[in-house]
Symmetry: C2
Subunit: 468 residues, 2 copies
């Protein structure tokens, strides 16, 4: 039987064989070797190809058994019909972790399902963990391991978000999106057909993974939903879930993707909420909410303070917050007095705090932020910043505001190439940055929905009003 | 009386005075001159400042009356209390267009309101068009005119979207966001307090503006909603509207922004829909929908075809489409046969068309696109493309598909610095590109909601199911 917690050979291998390695740049068997090399993997890499002596300057071997040392992880890219024999060779060699990138199994009909059953039987008998088949692979960034067919993803930062997905495409969308900021991932895993590693297994493993703080999941269909729900109930870490399959029209597309049925969307969704998972509606929201949870302390309540140099964006943020049940904090008298003293006479003191009349003065902005963070009704703070040639963003001073222990979120708008360093520094320092009012509010909303299970009573600061 | 259609001096001036020009980079009076210069304005620029002989190498004048030639447009940045006297000087000089950037008028209380009334009276008496006060300014990109305090916005492309906004901040968010692609604007106008140029006036002007195809509006509050509705009913061009003020808690913030009450959000929203305006929920959606309308032909129905190399993103696009009432087109028998002939045997033929088994072959993708565009049930086409080192995006061939006369939308995911040229070329060629499945679907939804008024009967292809 597979030891469900023995993910070591997969995620922390000392040696990786690439079975079906290729010298042709257009082939996945080439890109997989490149991923390992460019990702900075420090263990041994063994490309397997009977026709080549080397790939990317690394000695190639004609077969698995001809490899001299131990193999912890095998990446398999050979055609589907050859995968069972490859699995047997792996088993003979004592390989304990396999990622099967090849497609053409359960998802493609009956003959493929038979092939997958064969693989599964070998895995079960020999205690081999199998990621896939039919996956882009996976990454363990803390081990500098990019065991996927996409070298570009190896550029991602080390961080504490684990992304577990039934779609490799979604891992790419989120990964590419994340490259702009300072947020990082612990593990990114494309589960593919989930032959013997399921969402449930990953949840249990990641709950104990010291490198993971937030678990982010994209689910199309699950074969044993009850098992996932039971596992989810036992997880203390925040779990953010995007469930596909809202629409009837795409049920067919589902099965042909990873060989699973979508199930009833509403029932899943309700069950996810019951187990404390945070459900989201789109792939950027999955990332945005995970990022907020990965960086920010839990807010003590749902009162938000908003500071902005421009009224329009502040109104849009406030609008989006209130729509989601996030309360615009009312300031107590002492806060009002402190703000009145600080701000120019024309300013009407209210929340959002409109800084339009202070120009771009970063010092006043920091002072206002401090006053708001000292206000008991303000449980979290949103700061809007617009790129302007003569306005500096006080990144260093903003980072110091973390000492108040309240979540601080930045909404920052600029042309792509501006303020890039600031975004990275802020996020590396634990303050998430979002580009639009709507995404900012939704990220805070996600943060507020996390049930803090480590407390004596489960508390949730806002009602989950998300649709569907 | 102001001739409501005489916007010439504002939008196509031959000479611009900057009253309150400054030599200090941190001042708006400096940035305004810089905006004019860097924006490539070809007419005369007259900085007005009694203490300086030049600004940015341009001869400065001590007063408006000391300027030798005619002045079409005056940008006013002097303190609020000096604005009425500046207006009088402008009137004496025969200036017919003024943009008052200075704040501190109606939005700041009774004394400010008196100042604004004074300005208004002068404008009314002398027939001067006034944009503002309390605005970032405006741009007419086709005239190389950046009459705003933000030089960066002058980098925007010439195009056919007019953005009319009660918030300068929102113009910046949308403008900065647009710089990444190949879409452009005709005019961007911050109306500010809308003292004598209102949304209604802009609608009437833009309806006849040959450079404007789509009108995009951000509205906080309106003083005479009936007049706007009446004007909107007469507009044949698509009008996309973002109305702020969903929440009760921010009504206070509204007034202090541009001196207008938010009014009842639901009533406004319903009225906007009745007049045929397309309502949206966020600032990126305002831009995304406007972009789709600016580039694409109207679809003949609400059947969409989806092509993707990755199943997960295709499912997310399909999901988002169906949620919005966009129908996944059913393929007729002949289309199925053509696809079966073309695609590898493992492929299950359905919509979305999953190209996973064809690798990154751009030729097959084009062939599939052609088959779908020939299908009568497919009224619009979404193509998903994921950056991958060895996959080329067939930009040139995709642009040729426009000949089918059906809307084609690209959803493209890549790290920021990749595929940038492709995005620009596609959008310059009239095919909009969006970064996520959800934004792609919402853009198509916006396109489908446009009532084609030029037809004998008004037709709308999907129901407007947007919330609020």
């Amino acid at each position: 039987m597979v030891d469900k917690q023995n993910f070591g050979p997969l995620f922390y291998p000392e040696s990786v064989a690439v079975v079906g390695a290729s010298g042709d740049q257009r082939k996945m068997g080439y890109q997989c070797v490149k991923s390992l090399v460019e990702g900075g993997f420090r263990g041994k890499i063994y490309p397997v190809n009977p026709k080549l002596s080397q790939i990317l300057g690394i000695k190639a071997y004609p077969s698995i058994k001809s490899i001299p040392g131990r193999i912890d992880l095998a990446m398999v890219i050979v055609p589907a019909k050859h995968v069972p024999s490859t699995m047997r060779e792996c088993a003979e060699k004592g390989v304990k972790g396999v990622v099967i990138i090849t497609g053409g199994f359960r998802e493609s009909g009956e003959p493929g399902k038979k092939l997958e059953d064969e693989i599964l039987a070998i895995g079960r008998e020999k205690g081999i963990k199998i990621i896939g088949p039919n996956t882009f692979g996976f990454l363990n960034l803390h081990a500098n391991l990019n065991a996927s067919f996409t070298p570009t993803l190896g550029r991602l930062r080390k961080g504490n978000i684990a992304l577990i997905s039934q779609s490799g495409g979604l891992c790419h969308i989120i990964g590419y999106g994340a490259m702009d900021g300072g947020v990082g991932f612990s593990k990114i895993v494309g589960l593919g057909n989930r032959s013997n590693v399921e969402f449930r297994d990953m949840l249990e493993y990641l709950e104990k993974d010291p490198e993971t703080k937030v678990i982010s999941m994209y689910i199309e269909g699950i074969d044993k939903p009850r098992e996932l729900m039971d596992a989810a109930k036992r997880i203390s870490k925040p779990v953010v879930v995007l469930k596909a399959g809202k629409s009837e029209g795409i049920k067919k597309a589902f099965y042909s993707h990873t060989g699973s049925l979508a199930g009833n969307f509403e029932i899943y969704r309700a069950a996810f909420k019951q187990t404390g998972m945070i459900t989201v509606d789109g792939c950027m929201e999955l990332f945005d909410v995970s990022k907020a949870l990965s960086m920010l302390p839990p807010p003590e309540g749902n009162g938000v303070g908003i500071i902005s140099g421009q009224a329009g964006p502040a109104i849009l943020i406030a609008d989006a917050c209130e729509q989601l049940g996030i309360h615009l904090a009312e300031f107590s008298l002492s806060t009002m007095e402190k703000l009145e003293e600080l701000l120019p006479p024309l300013t009407i003191i209210s929340n959002p705090v409109d800084m339009a009349f202070t120009g771009g003065d970063p010092e006043i902005r920091i002072k206002v932020a401090r006053i708001l963070l000292e206000e008991k009704n303000v449980h979290s703070l949103i700061l809007f910043h617009l790129y302007y040639p003569s306005f500096e963003f006080p990144t260093k001073e903003i980072l110091k505001l973390k000492k108040y222990g309240k979540p601080i979120i930045i909404c920052m708008s600029s042309p792509r190439d501006f303020l890039k360093e600031e975004r990275v520094k802020l996020e590396e320092g634990g303050i998430p940055v979002y580009p639009t009012p709507e995404r900012t509010a939704k990220a805070l909303y996600g943060l507020l929905r996390y049930i803090k299970r480590d407390r004596s009573t489960e508390t949730r600061t806002v009602q989950d009003s998300s649709q569907g």
